[in-house]
């Protein structure tokens, strides 16, 4: 079968036994689409993988105060952990301040990361609406969207982050 792979250890001119061939045992179990839906957290910059739901910065402010404020401070700065706002235009300065607004190239990354990892002590507690709302709030405090803009699977990929055009790739596919 084409899915089988054969291992070949060849070209060992100094060895008398040169070939070990083994078939893949083919032990993977098929996963249903329902099961996949439960485990698929991947989000792409084009919006692939974003779930249903929506939220605005106004709604997100409440979520932020409850779940994020303690570590990230008032309006995303001055907290004990990473600053999430400010630093705009500082990347060419002597003291760049990397935040969601000043540095992150893609808005979809905000949703993706918060859904995976935040709040730190209890990731997974936020509903999709809450996730869109707090994403909207983080974009709002960085002057990227307006307070009442509805953020959802359709609008989020269209949000252009301020630092978006300042990235190049160090990897060239196929090299």
């Amino acid at each position: 079968m084409s899915t089988f792979r054969f291992f070949a250890v060849a070209g060992l001119s100094l060895c008398s036994i040169a070939v070990i061939a083994q078939e893949s045992p083919g032990l993977g179990e098929l996963v249903s689409s329902d099961e996949l839906a439960a485990l698929d957290y991947a989000v792409l910059p084009n919006g692939d993988g974003l779930p249903a739901g929506s939220g605005t910065a106004v709604e997100g402010s409440t979520v932020y105060q409850q779940y994020c404020f303690a570590c990230h401070g008032d309006k995303g700065s001055g907290g004990i952990n990473d600053a999430l706002s400010g630093g705009h235009g500082s990347m060419t300065s002597k003291s760049p301040v990397k935040t969601v607004g000043s540095f992150w190239p893609y808005a979809t990354t905000v949703f993706d990361y918060v859904r995976r990892a935040m709040p730190l002590s209890s990731p997974g507690v936020l509903t999709n609406d809450q996730l869109y709302a707090v994403t909207a709030y983080l974009l709002f405090i960085n002057d990227v969207v307006d307070e009442n803009d509805v953020i959802d699977a359709k609008s989020l990929p269209d949000v252009k982050m301020p630092n978006r055009d300042n990235f190049v790739w160090g990897y060239a596919p196929g090299t």
């Binding site: 032990l27 099961e35 996949l36 990361y113 995976r116 990731p123």
Partner: protein, 417 residues
């Protein structure tokens, strides 16, 4: 026996790399007089010793050989790093208990019977693999290094930070990694032609994720189950992790849970906002994957002071994400002259290589350096070259030449040259 001849190889006392291989070295070294009491029958020789045990542990006299510079973000216990005590080790294998750690939300306590690896996305057949199933696949094992791309980031600071090799460069380790080639599993699932990348995700509470190009996966990526002959330690991804030889550590996703085949990178938090390289012109480079050619003198080094003037071994490690180490040069005069170091027998691709030089230290202040060259011809750059064009906030992918200053009293400190 003929009088031993110390062949000079470079300035300030560096000797020919074959020095240690020659007969009669002992006659050239200072003779120490043993104190009489240490030669008598010792207390531990006056009765049978301890019995056998199910698992060994280092000597109680080696309790100082532990991971160092352990730190976690404010308010967290598992969002940070611990570092390998490179200056206290020799050879190339890092004992598993001393392998560096870098976690993004702690170490999950995974039940291996419940854990599954799922391949999905642009595949013909989404598949799930249990640990028992994976253990039945043909495996490969290789001795290779793993380096966090934030390793040595302190060397970009304006003033040289003072600390041991562990504190400054301890986010690199080497192990024998054994596991199943990921290409075999992906062929079983059937990758669709549009599948050019995959997103690897861990089962930690941050579901740490990275995008990896498919050509690397098909080249030499494995789903590692074994480290140094035993199942992975929890701190290294038990029960399974992605291992990408030579590429930055963060991509070698621990506690591997899902692999989604996609047509473009996900642009996850860690591959954009963290492990990217900011230049002074404001442009940042994403996806600097292979770790650059690098070396480091681990002895002498800060915390390992020199004793009386005399004959010393300079020893260290060299590695490159591009392949084998071809050459390591050592200088004892701040880089004015260089001598080839001897390489230990085990020179393997994308692995630590141990180098050694003989040094006749006359007791005057000296600056010692090492410089590695890999089989692709890349030469380890100077600090100045690495920093050229980089932002003051740049932190990742530092592979510049490390200089140690040896003072007259034998104390070793970090310096820039």
């Amino acid at each position: 026996m003929a009088e031993f001849d110390e062949l000079p190889a470079a300035g300030n006392g560096l000797l020919d790399r074959r020095f240690f291989l020659r007969a009669g070295v002992a006659s050239g070294a200072a003779l120490m007089t043993a104190s009489a009491s240490s030669l008598e029958r010792q207390e531990w020789m006056k009765g049978p010793g301890a019995g056998m045990s199910e698992a060994g542990a280092p000597s109680s006299h080696e309790s100082h050989v532990v991971r160092a510079s352990i730190g976690s973000l404010t308010g967290t216990t598992g969002t940070g790093a611990s570092r390998t005590p490179l200056q206290l080790l020799d050879g190339i294998i890092t004992p598993s208990r001393l392998h560096f750690e870098r976690h993004h939300s702690g170490i999950p306590d995974i039940d291996p019977d419940q854990h599954r690896l799922v391949l999905h996305g642009l595949v013909e057949r989404p598949l799930s693999f249990s640990l028992d199933a994976l253990a039945r696949y043909p495996m490969v094992s290789r001795i290779q290094f793993l380096e966090c791309s934030g390793n040595s980031g302190a060397s970009m600071a304006p003033e040289p930070a003072q600390g041991t090799c562990a504190a400054l460069h301890g986010l690199v380790s080497a192990s024998e990694w054994g596991g199943v080639p990921l290409s075999v599993l992906l062929e079983e699932a059937g990758v669709k032609p549009a599948g050019k990348w995959l997103i690897a995700e861990g089962a930690d509470s941050a579901m740490m994720s990275r995008s990896v190009p498919m050509d690397k996966i098909m080249d030499d990526a494995i789903v590692a189950l074994y480290q140094n002959g035993e199942r992975l330690r929890p701190s290294n991804g038990y029960p399974m992790r992605l291992f990408l030889p030579g590429w930055e550590g963060n991509m070698c996703v621990k506690w591997l849970r899902t692999i989604k085949v996609v047509d473009q990178p996900s642009m996850t938090k860690d591959e954009t906002s963290k492990y990217s390289d900011l230049q002074s012109d404001g442009v940042s480079t994403l996806f600097t994957f292979p770790m650059g050619v690098k070396s480091l003198i681990t002895s002498p080094s800060p915390g390992l002071s020199m004793g009386a003037p005399g004959l010393y071994q300079i020893s260290g490690i060299a590695w490159s994400g591009a392949g084998k180490i071809k050459r390591v040069e050592v200088s004892a005069d701040g880089g004015k002259s260089w001598a080839d170091a001897a390489l230990d027998a085990h020179v393997m691709p994308k692995c630590l290589t141990r180098f050694r030089s003989a040094w006749r230290w006359e007791g005057s202040p000296a600056v010692i350096l090492s410089r590695a060259t890999d089989e692709s011809g890349s030469i380890q750059p100077t600090r100045e070259t690495v920093l050229k064009g980089r932002s003051t906030a740049a932190f990742y992918h530092y592979n510049g030449i490390q200089a140690w200053h040896v003072a007259e009293n034998g104390e070793v400190t970090n310096v820039y040259v």
